[in-house]
């Protein structure tokens, strides 16, 4: 693969390098939710953990195996999730996320895995695992 084809937006580069919100949530089990989607064998695996109080996410962390777009997307989702209610999931739309990250069309499938992992975490999976 040629390096010049690895063309990423500033947003992706920054999140890939700094990985804000990466890690684990340290909270008692009663306050902690977790979810995951994808598989390493298929090239994308994303996990989220959230600390929840009163139905609202106070802290969210991710772990991700995937391309820089996946890592950036997971980071962005974890960041955006904080402060939201569990039931509020309409803000997460993979096509808009792809636009934000300037991801090429063939990466949409990977971003759907990020969405699935988050929905699994908040207990709102919309359908069969993608």
């Amino acid at each position: 693969m040629q390096l010049e084809r690895l063309d990423y937006s500033g947003e992706v580069r920054q999140r890939f390098e700094q990985a804000p919100r990466h890690g684990r949530v340290l909270a008692p089990p009663a306050e902690r939710l977790g979810g995951a989607a994808g598989a390493i064998g298929r090239g994308v695996r994303v996990e989220f953990e959230a600390r929840v109080r009163g139905g609202r996410i106070v802290e969210c962390r991710f772990r991700a195996y995937g391309c820089p777009h996946v890592i950036a997307a997971a980071s962005w989702v974890a960041e955006q999730a904080e402060g939201r209610r569990l039931a509020d999931t309409d803000w997460l739309e993979p096509r808009r996320l792809a636009e934000l990250l300037e991801a090429p069309a063939h990466k949409l499938g990977s971003l759907l895995v990020v969405e699935d992992a988050y929905l699994d975490c908040v207990g709102a999976r919309r359908g069969p695992e993608r």
Partner: protein
């Protein structure tokens, strides 16, 4: 300050990144080669057409072309008339395979090659399949090495050609060619060898390996791009169907005005390689071992290809728990090749590593480090440090625990 004159090893800040670890893809033209080529350019140079035998400048150009032919032949253990100039190894492979297959079509239409060959061979064979030939693609043996055990069962009475590369371009293993050459000779089958990754890196002798046809390129050996050669055993007048017509150059096998400066460059590059190869191979072997030991310390690192039968400067490794595209981007201070086609929608991993049985994850996370004439110990140490840092970081991002966890396993 000239290279190699630093009082202390250069620091990362003093190095110009990305550092080049892709000598198997191509090499810079050696300064000595550049000087020889420049003499053939410009109004004061040896620029005449080597086919213009009616005047002195043309004859001088022809003399330089023939000197280069001798230099290339010498490196291969061949005779000068057995060398045909081409535009590079891809054209040489096309001329050898299509040319031999078409010329000998009345004897049979079956070819044997290997699944891990370069695309220049595989795609040429696929083209012949479209034209009615049958091709058997054999799987290499353990460690990616192809020997007579793999080739013999595939031979048929109508086999006219066997094509096996000398050194694999992705994993650097050296195939066991001499027994294949003997087998082909016994069966009356032509034996073609793609030696693009072998010439100037290991000793190549067409008689020892029994090659009837052998492809080489200049730019893999510190010569210019755009020139190569095909060795054709015996006098190359009536053994191949030419691909290019028009002028009858190169005994009618490859028409077109000969590019004197390119050919002179290839000759110089091969002459230098003949003189320096043994010492250079030893130096590169030491550097490669240093690189491998530095990277392997991470844990979860797999060497791809036979550990012993390999060219000195090439190291192909796969990393557990790391995704290929992220790995390559994280290592953008190093110019190297990946086994991952991860920017495409298909996520197709290296067909060579898949043929060797690597699973998708390991094939996707493979890196090919190829060292060369200008590689230094300081560059290798820099690469080790960057790889260790970034692989550890990506493993942590993926939820692993980096080096500590793998070392505990």
């Amino acid at each position: 300050m000239a290279a190699g004159k630093h009082a202390t090893p250069p620091t990362m800040e003093m190095m110009r990144t990305p550092l080049y670890f892709d000598y198997a893809a191509t090499t810079p033209v050696d300064e000595r080669v550049v000087r020889a080529m420049v003499e053939c350019l410009g109004a004061g140079g040896c620029y005449a057409n080597p086919a213009s035998s009616s005047h002195g400048p043309g004859r001088e150009a022809r003399g330089r072309v023939e000197t280069a032919r001798r230099e290339v032949a010498e490196l291969l253990g061949a005779r000068p008339p057995e060398i045909i100039w081409t535009s590079g190894a891809t054209e040489s492979n096309n001329l050898a395979i299509k040319g031999a297959a078409r010329f000998h079509a009345d004897r049979g239409r079956h070819i044997v090659t290997v699944r891990t060959e370069h695309k220049a061979v595989l795609d040429t064979c696929r083209q012949l399949e479209k034209e009615g030939w049958q091709v058997s693609y054999v799987t290499p043996g353990p460690g990616g090495v192809t020997g007579v055990e793999q080739i013999e069962p595939a031979l048929r009475p109508d086999t006219v050609l066997v094509s096996v590369m000398f050194v694999n371009n992705e994993i650097g293993v050296i195939n066991d060619l001499a027994p294949i050459g003997r087998l082909c000779r016994e069966r009356g089958v032509l034996f073609h060898v793609d030696a693009a990754q072998a010439a100037a890196k290991i000793p190549v002798n067409v008689d020892e390996i029994g090659a009837d046809l052998l492809s080489v390129s200049a730019h893999k050996a510190y010569g210019p791009k755009g020139v190569g050669a095909l060795y054709l055993r015996g006098c190359p007048k009536s053994r191949l169907e030419p691909l290019i017509h028009g002028g009858g150059h190169e005994w009618g096998m490859r028409s077109g005005t000969l590019p004197t400066h390119q050919i002179v460059g290839m000759g110089a590059a091969f002459r230098i390689a003949a003189a320096e190869q043994p010492a250079e191979a030893e130096r590169l072997r030491t550097l490669r071992q240093r690189l491998w030991e530095g990277i392997a310390g991470l844990g979860g690192v797999h060497l791809n290809g036979d550990p012993e039968r390999r060219v000195a400067g090439l190291l192909n490794v796969s990393f557990e728990g790391v995704e290929g595209e992220s790995l390559l981007f994280a290592l953008r201070d190093l110019a190297l090749s990946s086994g991952s086609a991860c920017t495409s929608a298909s996520r197709e991993a290296s067909y060579v590593l898949r043929a060797l049985g690597r699973d998708d994850q390991l094939a996707q996370s493979s890196l090919r480090f190829s060292l060369g004439r200008y590689s230094t110990e300081a560059e290798v140490d820099f690469a080790i440090r960057v790889v260790r840092e970034q692989v550890d970081r990506l493993r942590l991002l993926a939820g692993g625990e980096g080096t500590a966890r793998l070392e505990a396993i």
